[in-house]
Amino acid sequence: MQLLANTLALASIYILLAVGYVVVYRASRVLNLAHGELMMLAGYAFFGLVSATPGHPLWAVPAALVVSFLAGVGVYATLVRPMAGHPLFSAVLVTVSLGILLRGLVLLGWTADILYPLAVSGYKNVPWPLPGGAVLTTIDLLSILMAVTVLLALWGFFARSRLGIQMRAAAENPLLAAQRGVNIHLVFSLSWGISTFVAGVAAILYASKVRLDPEIGVIGLRAFPVALVGGLDSLAGVAPAGLAIALLENLAIRYVSPLLSDVVPFLALLVMLFVRPWGLFGTKEEIERV
């Protein structure tokens, strides 16, 4: 039972991060290798806001998410938009450079020390016993809830709302969408904003549960295989892929070798590459286009 509970908790963080890769990739065909660092930035925004408004920690949550959203929009406007029409590699390297820049800035602002926003907020992460003898903490339960909410909300948005449909259209063929009057820059900045907004959710949860330091961006890289296994252009694939990889990791830790957990996502990815190279739910044509 605890194994399943752990799987759900880990999967929810993976899902929240993988969603960001997918949304951005669909919109601008860019692999955002700074996703982890943008998440870290949101964590620091949260910490800064919690510390700045003692006594009102709950206000820091939406405020940090807004900052995170704006950071995504800003990244699109300043770094990604100018790269349109240029070699894709250059755009990916721009995101790598952004990651370095963000880590440098955070080091300058907060030093490399480990921080604990939850301790500053005054809240406690309490364990809750579940039926079957498993235990999950408040934050774990919130993570699972948020992952489900985000997936449902995004699914509804992309399938039902006109803006969502326009975003999908712009992702498929930006020039045509522009010809149809869709303000693609608005739509793309919105995609980046959504991506970092969701990463912000992950950051707040993760920093509250584990810690905050300039290196937590590496968990962004761990969520990357999740996005790939699910299919880089497929939101639907994120949930099963996140669950599968989290389960495999947990099984590896418990029954095989804890060390293997590091390699499991990549092993899953390799298997996926040879069976269905376009991912669980990805579009087959996608591979040709990259």
Partner: protein, 355 residues
């Protein structure tokens, strides 16, 4: 040579296209550059010499990556892994068997070529991003093997690699290394130039631009793709071996994924698919952090905030890279080609319309 840069230098005969050194003017400048390079140790400080030596090693690695990614269009994220394979082959042979460098380096090349076959085969089935990820998996496998060896044999912090020796003579000292590595880098450059302008280069570029069309023109796509990986990996492993001998040690931590990113940055910043680009990119990426350091160090700051400067340097490096890529997404070679175009067309801005 470079694509999409709009160079008006369209060549009209095959000999002129295949010529290594086009014009007397180019020959003259190359000679000047060569003399300056030969004379550099007379004026270079130890740090500059070290930087140039490392640049020379990087040039070899960048050429290797450029062959497979720039010319053949197959993205490889296993570069650091392959360098590690070369470095560890050299290190282990020296440590375990006391092998001299003239045995250990060829062995590293051989191991690299073998790994080239291993990554080359998935390239027949996978493309683009997904191929890149399978090469990334190779990176993890190689590093896993290396770390098992390292900790299993009790070299917790890595292996020391002695200086190369031929008979009584040892390769030591900044000047000796400078000439040795500079020579190796020059030879590698010539090797790559020759590959690029002869049959393999043409075949790879055809595959890069449209593999189906290449196949219909009689290019054996599968064989050439695998060959691209074999040649590139062998050269990468060779670069790894050089790295080990020059720095005098080998350890798993030196070949993190970030090293791969650095090499990709070299070929992209230089300009994909250009031999000159690989050299320029390798120099740029190797020297930039130290240039940033030097510039930031010019700013007088009180002692107490001195350690914070390192965060500034770190951030400035990221910022500079990003700004450069945004301003010049097609790389240094494109800048070079624009400058030449400008002078070629002067006083016009572009070719007049024909007809």
């Amino acid at each position: 040579m470079s694509r999409g840069t709009g160079s008006p230098y369209l060549k009209t005969t095959y000999p002129s296209d295949a010529a290594l050194l086009g014009t007397p003017v180019r020959r003259f400048w190359l000679a000047v550059f060569g003399l300056a390079a030969l004379g550099f140790p007379l004026v270079g400080t130890p740090v500059l010499m070290d930087l140039l030596c490392r640049t020379a090693v990087a040039v070899v690695g960048a050429h290797a990556l450029n062959l497979v990614t720039g010319y053949a269009g197959q993205v490889s994220l296993g570069h650091a892994g392959l360098m590690a394979a070369g470095a560890f082959t050299a290190g282990i042979l020296t440590e375990e068997l006391g092998a001299p460098f003239w045995l250990a380096l060829p062995a590293a090349v051989l191991v690299g070529a073998l790994f080239g076959v291993v990554v080359g085969i998935p390239s027949l089935r996978l493309r683009g991003l997904y191929l890149a990820l399978s090469t990334l998996a190779l990176h993890f496998v190689i590093l896993y093997l290396a770390s098992e060896y390292q900790s299993g044999r009790g070299f917790a912090t890595g292996l020391l690699v002695p200086r190369p020796k031929v008979g009584p003579w040892t390769l030591a000292g900044a000047t000796a290394w400078y000439y040795a590595l500079g020579g190796v880098a020059t030879l590698t450059t010539l090797f790559c130039l020759n590959l690029a302008r002869t049959r393999p280069g043409r075949a790879w570029m055809a595959i890069r631009d449209r593999d189906v069309a290449a196949a219909s023109m009689g290019v054996n796509v599968a064989a050439w793709k695998v060959l691209a990986f074999v040649v590139s990996s062998a050269l990468t492993a060779f670069g790894g071996g050089l790295w080990a001998y020059y720095l005098g040690f080998v350890s798993v931590e030196a070949f993190s994924f970030f090293l791969t990113v650095e090499y990709i940055a070299m070929v992209v910043i230089g300009g994909l698919g250009s031999v000159l680009g690989a050299i320029l990119g390798a120099t740029f990426v190797t020297v930039l952090p130290y240039a940033v350091d030097a510039i930031v160090n010019l700013v007088p700051v009180p002692d107490r905030v001195h350690t914070h400067l390192f965060a500034v340097k770190f951030a400035a490096f990221g910022l500079l890279m990003a700004v450069f890529l945004i301003l010049e997404p097609r790389g240094l070679v494109s800048v070079w080609s624009r400058v030449r175009t400008y002078f070629d067309l002067w006083p016009f801005r572009y070719h007049p319309l024909k007809g």
